[in-house]
C-alpha cells in the first residue's frame, strides 16, 4: 500500500511557478498530421494544483502533452510551461517536469532501482542522490519489495507504477500523467489515484492528468480542461463547471424516449442517456421538475421515474462535447 501521509516534520514545499499561478499556457496552438488537425487553435491555461485533461479517445489530449514536451512542433501558436517558452527553452522545461507516458515504456535490461536511478541521473541528479531517490520513490509508489526485479518481468500495474516513479525521481515541479490507470485492476487503480491525489494535495506537485475516465479526474483533480476533436470544449474548476446553473434529474419514461428527448430539448432542457435506460435531464435555472412533467404530459408520455440528482463531471463532459 502506498504511503500517503505527509511526514509531520516535512511540510509540502510549494513548487515554484509563474507569478500568475499558471503552470501551462497555450495560445492559438494548432497541430496537424498531414491534413488532419489534432489540435485546432487551442487556447487553454492550466493553473497550479491538479488539473484534469479530459476528452474521448482521439480528442487530442496526448498530442497536447507531447507538444508541450517538445516532441511535436506545432504548426502555429505559442506555449509556455512553468513560465518558460516551449520553443525557446525545451531543456530547461524538461528538467523541471516529469512525464508518465501512456504506453508501456521502460529502459530494457534494467531492474527497477537501476532504471529509476538512471532516469534521475539523466535529469541531472548526482549518482548518489539518484540511487537514494530511486529507493525512496520506489517505496512511495509501492514497488519497494520488487525493486530489484527486472522491469520487463513486471505486471501491467507494476509497469504503471514504475513509470510514475521514473517521472518523480528528480522531484519535478509539474507532472504530466497520460492515462495513468490504463490496464490496472480496481485495487491498483485506487492506489494509483490515491498516490496522484497525495502528490497534488499533500506534496505540492502540480500535475496535469490526461484521462478519458471521468471518475479518475473527478477524484484527483480540482480543475478540468475538456477537449473534443482537437478543441477546448470547456475549462475551469470542476466545482464551478458542475455548479448551480439549474438542476439535474434522473428520468425514465415508459415508451418513446426519443420523442421525449426531442420535446425536452425543444423546451430548453438538455438531456442525455446513461448506461441504463435512465436519462439525465438538465433543467435550467428558474425552472423546476414541474417543467419536465408538463412536457411529458403535453407529449402524452408516461414518466416512470423522476429523481433529483447532483451534477457530476460526466454531465460537464456530456454538455461540453455534446454527447447524447
Amino acid at each position: 500500500m502506498a504511503e500517503t501521509a505527509a511526514r509531520p516534520y516535512e511540510a509540502p514545499v510549494p513548487a515554484p511557478i509563474a507569478s500568475d499561478g499558471v503552470v501551462v499556457r497555450l495560445a492559438n496552438v494548432s497541430v496537424r498530421y498531414a491534413s488532419n488537425f489534432a489540435l485546432r487553435d487551442v487556447v487553454a491555461t492550466f493553473e497550479t494544483g491538479a488539473v484534469g485533461l479530459l476528452g474521448p479517445n482521439g480528442a487530442g489530449k496526448s498530442t497536447m502533452i507531447k507538444t508541450l514536451l517538445g516532441f511535436i512542433k506545432p504548426d502555429q501558436g505559442q506555449m509556455t510551461v512553468l513560465g518558460l517558452d516551449v520553443a525557446a527553452s525545451p531543456l530547461e522545461i524538461r528538467a523541471r517536469i516529469g512525464y508518465m507516458p501512456e504506453n508501456d515504456s521502460h529502459i530494457p535490461g534494467m531492474n527497477a532501482v537501476s532504471f529509476v536511478a538512471y532516469c534521475g541521473e539523466l535529469s541531472g541528479l548526482g549518482s548518489v542522490d539518484a540511487i537514494q531517490r530511486a529507493h525512496e520513490v520506489l517505496y512511495y509508489v509501492g514497488l519497494g519489495e520488487a525493486r530489484y526485479r527486472n522491469v520487463e518481468t513486471y505486471s501491467t500495474g507494476m509497469k504503471q507504477r514504475i513509470k510514475l516513479a521514473q517521472a518523480l525521481v528528480h522531484d519535478p515541479d509539474l507532472l504530466f500523467l497520460d492515462e495513468p490507470t490504463n490496464g490496472m485492476d480496481p485495487k491498483g487503480r485506487d492506489e494509483m489515484l490515491e498516490l496522484i491525489r497525495d502528490l497534488a494535495h499533500n506534496k505540492g506537485v502540480n500535475l496535469i492528468l490526461s484521462s478519458h475516465l471521468l471518475p479518475d479526474v473527478e477524484y484527483t483533480c480540482d480543475r478540468v480542461v475538456v477537449m473534443d476533436k482537437g478543441r477546448i470544449a470547456a475549462q475551469g474548476p470542476i466545482a464551478e463547471l458542475k455548479g448551480p446553473r439549474g438542476s439535474v434529474y434522473e428520468l425514465r419514461a415508459k415508451i418513446d424516449t426519443d420523442r421525449l428527448v426531442g420535446a425536452l430539448r425543444a423546451a430548453g432542457m438538455d438531456c442525455h442517456a446513461t448506461d441504463e435506460d435512465v436519462m439525465r435531464v438538465f433543467v435550467p435555472e428558474g425552472l423546476t421538475a414541474r417543467a419536465v412533467f408538463e412536457v411529458a404530459a403535453r407529449e402524452r408520455i408516461q414518466l416512470r421515474h423522476l429523481r433529483p440528482s447532483v451534477p457530476t463531471l460526466e454531465d460537464v463532459f456530456a454538455r461540453a462535447v455534446g454527447e447524447e
Binding site: Y33, F71, S105, H106, Y118, S123
Partner: protein, 279 residues
C-alpha cells in the same frame, strides 16, 4: 521493514548542469556490456593478435636470427586489418541493441522527456560503441608501437616512421566511425536487435561478396566502391603509405566512407524522435 518513513520528499540537493546526459548514457551502456561474460571473452580474444605481434617484436629485437620479423609500417597496417573481424563482432554485439531495444521498449519518449537533446542521446549511444571499438583497434595498435620502442630500446623506428601515430589514429577513427554510425542507423530502423545484426552482416558481407564477384568477372577493381570495407581498406593503404590494393582513386573511396557516415546520421536524425508520427 525500513526504519524511516518511505513517503515522498521534495529534493533539496544539487542538480548538475546540462550536457552530461550523453556521458550517463555511454557509461551505463558500457557497464551493462562489461557485466556480460561472453562479451568480455570477445574483448580478450580481440587482444590475441596484439600478443602475437608483441611476441614478434620481442623476437625480432632480441634474436638476430629472426630479424626479418622486425616490424615495419606495413606491420601496423596489417595489424589493424587483422582487427577487422573483431570490429565486426564487437559492433554487432554492442551496437545491434543500442537503439533497437529502446524502440522495442518505447524508451525514446522517456529519454527525450528528460533534459537531453536527440544529439546527446545519439552521442551517448555512439560513445559506448566507439569506446569499445577503439579498445580493439587504436589502443592495441598504439600499445604495439610503444612495445616496439621499449623493446628496441631506441626511438630510431619511431623517428623513421613518425607518420605512424597519426596514421593509426586517423585510420582507427575512420574504421570505428564507419562501423558505429552504420550500426546505429540500422539499429534505429528496427525493434529487433537480431534483425539489426543480420542487416549489418548483410551490408558488410553482401557488399564484399558483390565486389568479389564483380572482380572475378571483370578483373576490374572499380567495384571496390560498392563495398564499404574495400573502400576503407583502400583509404587505409594510402594513410599507411603502402601501395593501394585497388585501382580506384583513394579520394573516391574516402567519399564512399563519408557518404555512408553522413547517410547514417541522416537516418538517425529521422528515426530518433520522442514520438513516431505516421502522416
Amino acid at each position: 521493514m525500513p526504519i524511516h518513513d518511505q513517503g515522498y520528499r521534495r529534493f533539496g540537493g544539487i542538480r548538475s548542469g546540462r550536457g552530461n546526459a550523453w556521458l550517463v548514457i555511454a557509461s551505463t551502456a558500457m557497464r551493462t556490456m562489461l557485466r556480460n561474460r561472453k562479451f568480455m571473452g570477445l574483448l580478450l580474444l580481440a587482444w590475441a593478435p596484439f600478443l602475437v605481434r608483441a611476441v614478434q617484436v620481442y623476437a625480432s629485437t632480441n634474436f638476430p636470427q629472426v630479424a626479418f620479423l622486425a616490424p615495419t609500417a606495413k606491420t601496423f597496417r596489417e595489424f589493424l586489418e587483422q582487427q577487422n573481424p573483431f570490429v565486426f563482432f564487437v559492433t554487432i554485439y554492442v551496437g545491434a541493441g543500442l537503439i533497437s531495444n529502446d524502440h522495442r521498449a518505447n524508451a525514446l519518449q522517456i529519454y527525450l522527456s528528460k533534459p537531453l537533446t536527440r544529439v546527446e542521446y545519439v552521442a551517448g549511444k555512439a560513445a559506448a560503441l566507439i569506446a569499445f571499438l577503439l579498445f580493439v583497434t587504436w589502443v592495441p595498435a598504439l600499445l604495439l608501437l610503444l612495445v616496439q620502442v621499449l623493446l628496441a630500446g631506441s626511438f630510431a623506428f619511431l623517428q623513421k616512421n613518425l607518420f605512424l601515430f597519426p596514421a593509426i589514429t586517423v585510420f582507427s577513427l575512420l574504421q570505428v566511425l564507419m562501423a558505429s554510425f552504420t550500426m546505429l542507423a540500422l539499429s534505429s530502423l528496427s525493434k529487433s536487435s537480431r534483425f539489426v545484426a543480420a542487416m549489418y552482416a548483410g551490408v558488410i558481407l553482401f557488399t564484399s561478396a558483390i565486389q568479389g564477384m564483380f572482380w572475378a568477372m571483370t578483373r576490374s577493381s572499380a567495384a571496390s566502391l560498392i563495398s564499404p570495407t574495400a573502400s576503407l581498406n583502400q583509404v587505409g593503404d594510402v594513410i599507411f603509405r603502402v601501395p593501394p590494393r585497388y585501382e580506384t582513386p583513394a579520394g573516391l573511396s574516402l567519399l564512399v566512407v563519408g557518404l555512408l557516415v553522413t547517410g547514417s546520421i541522416l537516418v538517425l536524425e529521422r528515426r530518433v524522435r520522442g514520438v513516431e508520427v505516421v502522416a
